[in-house]
Symmetry: C2
Subunit: 193 residues, 2 copies
């Protein structure tokens, strides 16, 4: 896609950032090369020199995006750790990353590469470190290691659907998900281990 | 919105059905009054005589939609009942209603009335009848009645996110959700009752 003309990395970055902002602000229906050009303060031809079409640009913008996951301090209980990790995801989902994920979801299934980028870019700050489980077993809170993928599966699904339905994801909702769904699933998983 | 001109109910129904089909087939990005008119074999002016704009038409099309939930035979165990109800939702989500829900999700949050219609129209065939819980308590499978809303919350979230991510929702996945997440949550809810 590149030509003999030297590329301007700053210009490229500005175009990719404008693409993500448009998706987050106006959704896929409001996303066009023309709108990106206007937002990035560049010419449509500049964009077309680097990317074939809007889908090519969209995939590049998502590949370039690195969600920011703040560090999480270790708590002194399994429940404390789970609340902290679920709350971090709630913050992401309530912010720019959630709006971006919603914009990406709006892309049609037939856009090549979108499903994979969607998977990679749906806020997945809910991936639970192995260490959380190890510590819970050491503290005697769990009788055996559990399938920690259950955490991400449950928390990201429930919080994402709340976001899609424009329902509030607050501390009470996060506590409900951890206490009433994740912890019972973990205890069951430990029993079966 | 109606004028002195007599309305043709069949024509109206055809326009609303075409709206739903377009949303399910091409998503919100492919939805326009022009495309609906072409699909319904009518003139754009006919549509504008009845509905103010595309959002007005979209809300009317969703209000008019009655998802078909097939009857479910009672099983002889709580697990059997839960699998049957979750499977029915999986069938809906894998079919027209799931594609329609995805199309509606693509509408922007600022479209008045969409959030409510989305809530009403996201396949909710997962609403568990009280009878399923009563029977489980009678059979001694649960020590006390549980919060049955947990079923709908868990199943519709997990299955919807799978659909959005274009991941398979098959019998194995349904059994995983019931066995590893719903049943542990129910047992926990019964303990706390």
């Amino acid at each position: 896609m590149t030509t003999g003309r030297p590329r301007d990395p700053d210009r490229d970055q500005a175009i990719l950032a404008a693409t993500r902002e448009l998706l987050a602000e106006r959704g896929y229906a409001g996303f066009s090369i023309e709108a990106v050009a206007a937002k990035a303060g560049t010419a449509k031809t500049t964009i077309y020199r680097r990317w074939q079409d809007k889908h090519d640009l969209l995939v590049a913008a998502l590949k370039d995006h690195v969600p920011h996951y703040p560090e999480i301090a270790e708590a002194d209980s399994l429940r404390g750790d789970l609340i902290a990790h679920a709350s971090r995801l709630a913050t992401l989902i309530n912010g720019f990353d959630g709006r971006l994920a919603l914009g990406v979801m709006q892309a049609r299934p037939d856009v090549a590469g979108i499903a994979e980028e969607l998977e990679r870019n749906t806020p997945s700050g809910a991936r639970l470190p192995e260490r959380v489980i190890t510590r819970a077993v050491e503290r005697g809170e769990l009788p055996a290691p559990v399938d920690r993928d259950l955490f991400e599966e449950i928390v990201s699904s429930l919080l994402t659907l709340r976001m899609i339905r424009r329902q509030l994801v607050d501390d009470d909702y996060v506590a409900h998900v951890v206490d009433d769904i994740v912890l019972p699933a973990f205890r069951n998983s430990a029993r079966e281990a």
